[in-house]
């Protein structure tokens, strides 16, 4: 498959702080790569390098077949960027902002106007289009910013936390827009803090921490990495814990993990149905009456916390 976004060994330092220490990425045409990572991991820096806003110190990257360092103009013709913070002219109206960007994208005055109207309509911005952006709410601003990045029908879209600060309705509108773009063959690199968003939209996910990609794969692959399904047993009082631990140990031949004030025990499941049945009868025989008994798949949150060691805010 054709690789549309490719990065190899990207390094970037700010003073003596190394923001990126060799980032490798590759995104096939028409797919969405979700870039996950704690605050300060280097997500924005990666996006800025790929969108030609920032020159990397080392490594090479190409977007839509053009090198970001040597052919930035060609790259810019083919990309749309929605940065982490809305980049709009506050004094101009929404429509004027879009038209200006359209003209600068060389759509021509008439072309820019038509395209702006289409996007205002699609993103449900019709009512506010004639007001200066400075009167917009945060969510409206973000939607306009997204419209701005779509103005020239880009082949490649960079979205840096596109739904941060949006209410659930706006988020759904945006997700639909992104899915539409993917269906039309656009390649997307999206950073997000919402793991559910990555789960929903991403074909593949790359987890970045400390300026390095520490894991990548599909959402299911990543979940499998932190372990398979687990049986979780919640008991009512501390007195029941020893009996429950013994019962589960006998059934699974493994030491159960004890969490959350000791009331939740869990063991990983290999032979799902059989183990669940045996555990149920063993607990019953030991006269433990669990208040919770459930099979849980790891969520992307578990993956994230396991991979990044639960650390956030490595800045400063």
């Amino acid at each position: 498959m054709e690789i549309v976004i490719e990065a190899e060994g990207i390094r970037k330092r700010y003073g003596d702080h190394e923001a990126l220490r060799g980032v490798d990425l590759s995104v096939p045409a028409g797919t969405l790569l979700g870039l996950l990572g704690p605050n300060g991991a280097g997500k924005t820096t990666t996006v800025r390098v790929l969108a030609t806003l920032l020159e990397a110190d080392e490594g090479r990257a190409s977007v839509a077949g053009y090198d970001v360092r040597t052919q930035p103009r060609e790259v810019r013709r083919r990309i749309g960027l929605t940065g982490q913070y809305a980049a709009l002219d506050e004094r101009l109206t929404g429509r004027e902002n879009l038209q200006l960007i359209g003209v600068l994208h060389r759509l021509g005055r008439r072309g820019a106007k038509t395209r702006a109207d289409v996007l205002l309509d699609r993103l449900d911005l019709g009512q506010v289009a004639a007001r200066p952006v400075k009167t917009y709410s945060g969510g409206t601003r973000r939607r306009l910013d997204l419209a701005a990045s779509l103005i020239a029908d880009p082949k490649v879209l960079f979205l840096d936390e596109p739904t941060t600060g949006l209410d659930p309705t706006s988020r759904l509108i945006l997700w639909d827009m992104i899915r539409e773009q993917l269906a039309a063959g656009v390649t997307v690199l999206m950073t997000t803090q919402y793991l559910e968003e990555a789960d929903q939209l991403a074909d593949r996910i790359a987890v970045i921490d400390g300026g390095r990609v520490i894991a990548d794969g599909t959402s299911d692959e990543l979940k499998a990495k932190v372990g398979g399904e687990r049986l979780e047993v919640t008991v009512q009082d501390d007195a029941a814990i020893p009996a429950a631990v013994t019962a589960l140990r006998e059934v699974t031949a493994m030491e159960p993990a004890v969490e959350r004030n000791g009331r939740v025990l869990s063991v990983s499941l290999r032979d799902q149905l059989k183990t669940v049945a045996e555990a149920a009868s063993a607990l019953d025989a030991a006269q433990v009456r669990p208040i919770g008994f459930a099979v849980r798949r790891p969520s992307l949150d578990d993956v994230f916390l396991a991979l990044t060691g639960g650390t956030t805010g490595k800045e400063g």
Binding site: A51, T52, L53, L54, E55, R73, R76, R77, I79, L81, G83, Y85, A86, A87, L88, D89, E90, R91, L92, E96, L100, I101, V103, L104, H105, R106, P132, A148
Partner: protein
């Protein structure tokens, strides 16, 4: 051609700002008018210079001072765009690299034109006249606007390096104050001690002011020998402005690349 279309789009953006930012509109109408009234009427009535009335003599100085305020205007605009991410947006577009600064400086010169018209009208009302004919007067305004253009580029450079409005304001002030007052804008230089006089005469602002006085026919009949820029103010003011542009334009374009890549 692409550069022209980019610049004209950005020019349109700045003209829209003029209508929407009241401070900006005031700074090109009310402020220059206040300058003329304060300096022209107040000072102009109190002091006299040989060979001309001080009020007419002052006008070239007031026009020139107004051109110097472009340093601060442009610097603030550029720093603001950097701050709110507009520059990032522009940098992700396939536009000509220098279009952003050219559009900004040209529109600030357009504002200077408005200011000049306002000042000339008020000047006329308080008795200022040109005595060398309209074409020469227009040439004088041409030199003024060239200075304004160079000052805008200088402002762009400062805005890109300083980035914050506070820093921009104090740098612009520290630069413009000595340029204005260590010149012949408001006083004839004949009476100054030798070294100070030399310094003031080589100040490019003095050359521009002297050139305008010559072209407007508002010169005083000062005595004593003067340094080159004041003796041949028209060619030398043009040369000094060209020199300034030759230094500042590439520096600002370079700073734009670096500043936006942070």
């Amino acid at each position: 051609m692409e550069l022209v279309s980019d610049v004209s789009a950005l020019f349109g953006r700045h003209m829209r700002h003029l209508a929407r930012i009241p401070e900006k509109l005031l700074s090109v109408t009310l402020m220059p008018v206040a300058y003329v009234i304060v300096f022209g009427v107040l000072f102009g009535s109190a002091i006299s210079v040989p060979g001309s009335d001080y009020r007419s003599y002052l006008m070239a100085g007031i026009f020139t001072q107004m051109m110097l305020t472009n340093v601060g205007n442009t610097a603030l605009g550029v720093a603001g765009d950097l701050d709110n991410g507009v520059v990032d947006r522009f940098r992700s577009l396939p536009m000509s690299r220098s279009a952003v600064l050219i559009g900004r400086t040209l529109s600030d010169v357009a504002l200077a034109v408005i200011a000049c018209v306002a000042m000339a009208v008020v000047g006329y009302l308080i008795g200022w006249r040109v005595h060398q004919g309209i074409p020469k007067a227009i040439a004088g305004f041409g030199i003024l606007l060239l200075l304004g253009y160079a000052m805008s580029w200088l402002g762009a450079l400062i805005g890109l390096l300083a980035r914050s409005a506070e820093a921009v304001n104090s740098i612009a002030f520290m630069l413009v104050m000595p340029l204005t007052f260590l010149s012949n804008a408001f006083i004839p230089l004949d009476g100054l001690p030798g070294w100070l006089r030399l310094l003031c005469e080589w100040n490019p602002v003095s050359a521009v002011v002297a050139a305008c006085r010559e072209l407007f026919g508002n010169t005083s009949t000062g005595t004593g020998k003067s340094a080159l820029p004041v003796q041949y103010p028209i060619p030398l003011s043009l040369a000094l402005i060209a020199l300034l542009l030759a230094i500042v334009v590439p520096a600002a374009v370079g700073a734009y690349r670096k500043a936006a890549a942070r």
